[in-house]
């Protein structure tokens, strides 16, 4: 494969265009045979939720996403990798996060996208808090043990 281009990593308040990001990866070079995308979306939580507020640690969030993306590029033969994480208020139905991984064949793209998402959830310094439909500020979202288990799963299979 051609040399791996630097991953595209963005933290932004604005929404993103999934189709445009896929095009960016597929048009960048001629050997792209597969692009896997994951889009994380804000749930309505049975109508309770007005919005999620996403806080982050400026500086470390960029550094940590860079380390996660760097590890993915080392583990899998990727033609490109894009990670976009939103901050601020996100309403139900709106995008929160995008991971897009491109490769010659599908397997590397699937695995790399899954790896990056798992580490984004448990290692990238972002925190979600609920804003409720009754106008009040709700609780901070609690981390799930299952997410931490998935991190350990990747460590065990580390080559």
């Amino acid at each position: 494969m051609e040399p791996v281009p630097a991953p595209i990593l963005r933290i932004q308040a604005a929404d993103f265009d999934v189709a445009a990001e896929i095009d960016r990866l597929s048009q960048a070079r001629a050997d792209v045979g597969a692009i896997v995308t994951f889009t994380g979306i804000c749930r309505a939580e049975e109508g309770r939720l007005a919005a999620l507020e996403l806080e982050h640690y400026p500086g470390m969030a960029e550094a940590e996403i860079g380390r996660i993306a760097g590890e993915a590029v080392r583990r899998w033969e990727l033609s490109g990798l894009t990670v976009i994480h939103r901050i601020g208020l996100v309403k139900p139905g709106q995008n929160i996060v995008l991971v897009a991984a491109g490769s010659v064949h599908r397997q590397a793209a699937f695995e790399a996208a899954s790896f990056v998402m798992d580490f984004l959830k448990s290692r990238a310094p972002f925190w979600k808090r609920e804003h409720l439909n009754d106008g009040t500020t709700g609780d901070w979202v609690e981390a799930r043990d299952a997410d931490e288990d998935r991190i350990r799963g990747w460590a065990v299979t580390k080559d």
């Binding site: 940590e64 984004l120 310094p125």
Partner: protein, 87 residues
């Protein structure tokens, strides 16, 4: 020798302590993350409340994750925060 370090707090750790960041003079005997958490809990009710369960507190030194046994020697910025919930 005491050392001057910047502490930064996020999410409910920030809310319970009541500030986003502060500069603090650490006595020389505070040399690990675990010792820092003990030291901070003695600073007042809001710190005791924020750090009541130290085992859930995540720590980063100069933008990198560390465990509670890690040395804080030479740290410029130490961040305390809850388990992360991005993605």
């Amino acid at each position: 020798m005491a050392s001057d370090v910047k502490l930064v707090y996020f999410a409910w750790v920030r809310e319970r302590i009541g500030k986003a960041e502060e500069d603090i003079d650490l006595p020389a005997e505070v040399s690990t993350v675990a010792q820092l958490l003990v030291f901070l809990r003695e600073r007042g009710e809001e710190y005791r409340n924020a750090l009541a369960r130290p085992e859930v507190i995540r720590v980063a030194i100069d933008h990198e994750h560390v465990d509670h046994g890690h040395s804080i020697a030479g740290a410029r910025e130490i961040a305390l925060f809850p388990p992360m919930t991005g993605g």
